[in-house]
Amino acid sequence: MGNWERLVWNQRDVLLAGLGVTLEVCAIAFIAAIVGGLALCLTRLYVAPLRPIAILLIEFFRDTPIFVQLMWVAYVWPEVFGFPHSFFTAGWLALALQSSGYLAETFRAGIEAVPRGQRDAAFSAGMSQPQTFTRIVMPQVVLASAPSIVNQFTVIVKSSTLISVITVPDLMSQSQKLVNVWYEPIEILTATAAIYITFVFLISLAGKLLSDRLRQRYGLAAS
């Protein structure tokens, strides 16, 4: 047990700092992914001239492995588009791009599941198109896709381990630094793995409770 104390407990500040960065990157990426996914989805559904571009982007984000995308955003984008300026930004941006592709499809399924009749009813009751969208369609979409959105957050957390490769000082990267100092990987890496697994487990547990709750209260066939 002495090893655990020396290598893990006494290094808790380093690990916690890493965990903080991980949380920060994941939170930013998550919000950006929701905004981006909604934008992609609405463009795909309602902006006819841009539709092919939206479809291409969604497919590209979904079908390119996150690691490849990360390297691409971190090393190619700065030269071509002039940004991101830091690896931190590149990290959350790549995570957000990947998830925005998945979320766009989730939102689209949610929107398409709202029966046509409800929209017609709203129109005939004198609601404008934006009103119909925000008051009739969106609440149902949010309810139906809440479990998938939470699930997407676990995907972001899992993929976030890869940003250590582009030297963002997240939990993974801090623990690898400790390993390189002490050359004793067993305790440090096991503890790191346990932290990640527990964290992701708690998020998916919360997601499951949420979807059960929604199903009970609104009778939704949540998946």
Partner: protein
């Protein structure tokens, strides 16, 4: 900026190194095949534990599923490559080292066994009790019931889900370059170190993976749609 863009889209360098890059892609496929077989068999084992009659068996199955399904691929890869050999080494009192390829297969196989276990379990629990009772009343052994009655139906039901998991697994194989398995990404970074031109090479890698995975996933989508209709009909 336009110069950078031109460089990015100039894939002639990517083409120049096609032999070594293709070799890398074949390595991706190899890791995929081995990890997929490992994930399928371990996943089936875990699913059978989860539906076992004895509660402690079920707990072990649940633990397996929850640990590996919630573990990030990359930390598992690093753990299996750097920690597992040490643990085994202390156990048998001999120096053990894993070849990167072996570590990659074990790590990805374990992570995806968690997902496959859940797919198997959902399929197993969807089999009507009457089917099993009928098998028993014919005097079939539990093992025979599993192979002749349960699994054929489970496989048919879980096929679309399993194909999606296979695609995720294939995407996950790109990270094996981080422990020096010479896959496409690894070879790309080797060539980048030599030529100092990341733009066309990373772009080429992204496009290559995109094309391969896009083709795979669209055919899976078309196939699953038909398959579902056939199963439901």
């Amino acid at each position: 900026m336009s110069d950078a863009l031109k460089q990015t889209l100039d894939l002639s360098m990517f083409w120049e190194y096609r032999a070594i890059l293709l070799q890398g892609l074949i390595f991706n496929a190899l890791v995929f095949l081995c990890a997929a077989s490992a994930a399928l068999s371990v996943g089936l084992g875990a699913a059978l534990l989860r539906v076992n009659r004895f509660a402690p068996m079920r707990w072990i199955g649940t633990l397996h599923v929850e640990v590996f399904r919630n573990a990030p691929d990359y930390i598992m890869l690093v753990w299996v490559h750097f920690v597992l050999p040490l643990l085994i080494g202390t156990l048998i009192r001999r120096r053990v080292e894993f070849h990167p390829f072996v570590s990659a297969v074990i790590a990805l196989g374990l992570v995806y066994s968690g997902y496959f276990a859940e797919a198997f379990r959902a399929g197993i629990q969807a089999i009507p009790q009457g089917n099993l009772d009928a098998g028993r009343s014919f005097g079939m052994s539990e093992r025979l019931i599993l192979w002749r009655i349960t699994l054929p139906q489970v496989v048919r039901r879980m096929l679309p889900e399993a194909l999606n998991l296979f695609i995720s697994l294939f995407k996950a194989t790109t990270i094996v370059s981080l422990i020096a398995v010479p896959d496409l990404m690894y070879n790309v970074s080797m060539v980048i170190q030599q030529e100092m031109r990341p733009l066309p090479l990373y772009t080429g890698a992204a496009l290559t993976y995109f094309l391969v995975i896009f083709l795979l996933s669209s055919s899976v989508r078309v196939f699953s749609e038909r398959w579902r209709r056939k199963i439901l009909a």
